[in-house]
Subunit: 205 residues, 2 copies
DNA sequence: GATTTTTGTCCGAAAAGTCGGAAAATCACG
DNA sequence: CGTGATTTTCCGACTTTTCGGACAAAAATC
């Protein structure tokens, strides 16, 4: 689970208060006092979320929002708005903020909100990882000679059969429906050694 | 995107008000007046989220929560609590509610919260779908003779090569690093006809 | 420690696959 | 309808693979 929270807040008192609240909940606060300082952390593979004040001396919270969304539209940004500043909050949500909190905010609410944002982030990252795995596997064929590709697959099949039989060549041969000697031929050609599959106790059943 | 919101609310005035709010935002409210009425909709593959009142005449909102979590721990439940009933709200969050809203609630807040919950639900369902696909593909090798398995893969490789070259055998042969004739030999053996890969306009580049 | 089973390697004949050349069939195009 | 390019099939020599049998070495069983 991702637990990083990149905090952008110029009021140092509030900042350290937030840091403390997060640490009590086993989250990982990364406190910064300005957008410029925070920029470098904001990447598409950032394993956390952003918590930013919306009113800051140099830059606006909306700038943060746009920057983050440009880097990764699925990186949640939680904004801290002034008390009952509903229009600003609504605008923030419309522009893609994950959520907003009214200052001063209830610590529980803060944690709940960040937890949700982090959960969302985890799911998104997990999703991407699984997707990558999927496309890796789907491209059964990337390039190379036909024989190269077949050899690669042949190796996989034989190694799996050996693994399933704990490295017993004769058993693997039976499983593969070929005579023992033939399997030895294949193994010699592919430089597969049966010993490598023994003892490892990964045999199925 | 999933947009269903299963509403459990005994106050009919509030219920229809919620329904109206959701419909204005293109969400799909499923209004029910009691837990018993809502039960049958709650399944692990429910493509939506649950919005329930926490105080009801017959059953408690926590019962809903437990029931839903038993059916699917990743089905978000948003609870409606009485105004500033902080302890109940905190207990709800601890017991796994996705979020809570204080009654009477701001329509914008309601929509924001439900959108987040629905987003979460979509991600979870998507994740599961991709996972299923993954395990399907991971079983590269199920059984059968070595030659059967190799033949299967050989067919895949050749068909992909043909598809990439729009059914041009000579081009596919070049790509596979073997003479045309040899590829024809393979194709004859595997009963692959090149015509089947022409015209379909699926050629890459 | 003797015996039986299993492993890993080698041999050789039959079977299958490779691949160049060439002819037949088909397609493309003016 | 020809003409050239491409696809497809057929042939035959050459190479590789298959697979049963044999055998020494290692392991397991008694």
């Amino acid at each position: 689970m991702t637990t990083k929270v990149l905090i952008i807040e110029d009021d140092s008192a509030l900042r350290s208060s937030i840091v403390q609240t997060l640490e009590l909940e086993d989250l990982e606060p990364i406190p910064t006092s300005s957008f410029t300082q925070a920029r470098r952390s904001i990447r598409s593979n950032f394993k956390g979320v952003v918590l930013s004040d919306i009113k800051m001396p140099d830059r606006d919270g909306f700038e943060v929002l746009n920057f983050v969304r440009a880097r990764d539209p699925d990186l949640p940004v939680v904004l801290l708005t002034g008390y009952s500043d509903v229009p600003t909050a609504m605008r923030a949500m419309k522009e893609g903020a994950y959520d907003y909190l009214e200052k001063p905010c209830n610590p529980d609410r803060l944690i709940d909100t960040l937890r949700r944002a982090l959960d969302h982030r985890s799911l998104v990252l997990e999703n991407r990882a699984i997707r990558d795995e999927l496309v890796d596997q789907q491209s059964v064929v990337e390039g190379g000679t036909l024989s190269e590709q077949l050899e690669l697959h042949e190796r996989k099949v034989i190694e799996q059969a050996l693994a399933m039989e704990n490295g017993k060549v004769s058993m693997a041969a039976k499983r593969l429906g070929i005579p023992r000697n033939t399997l030895y031929d294949h193994m010699t050609r592919l430089r597969i050694v049966a010993k490598a599959f023994r003892n490892s106790d990964t045999g199925i059943e």
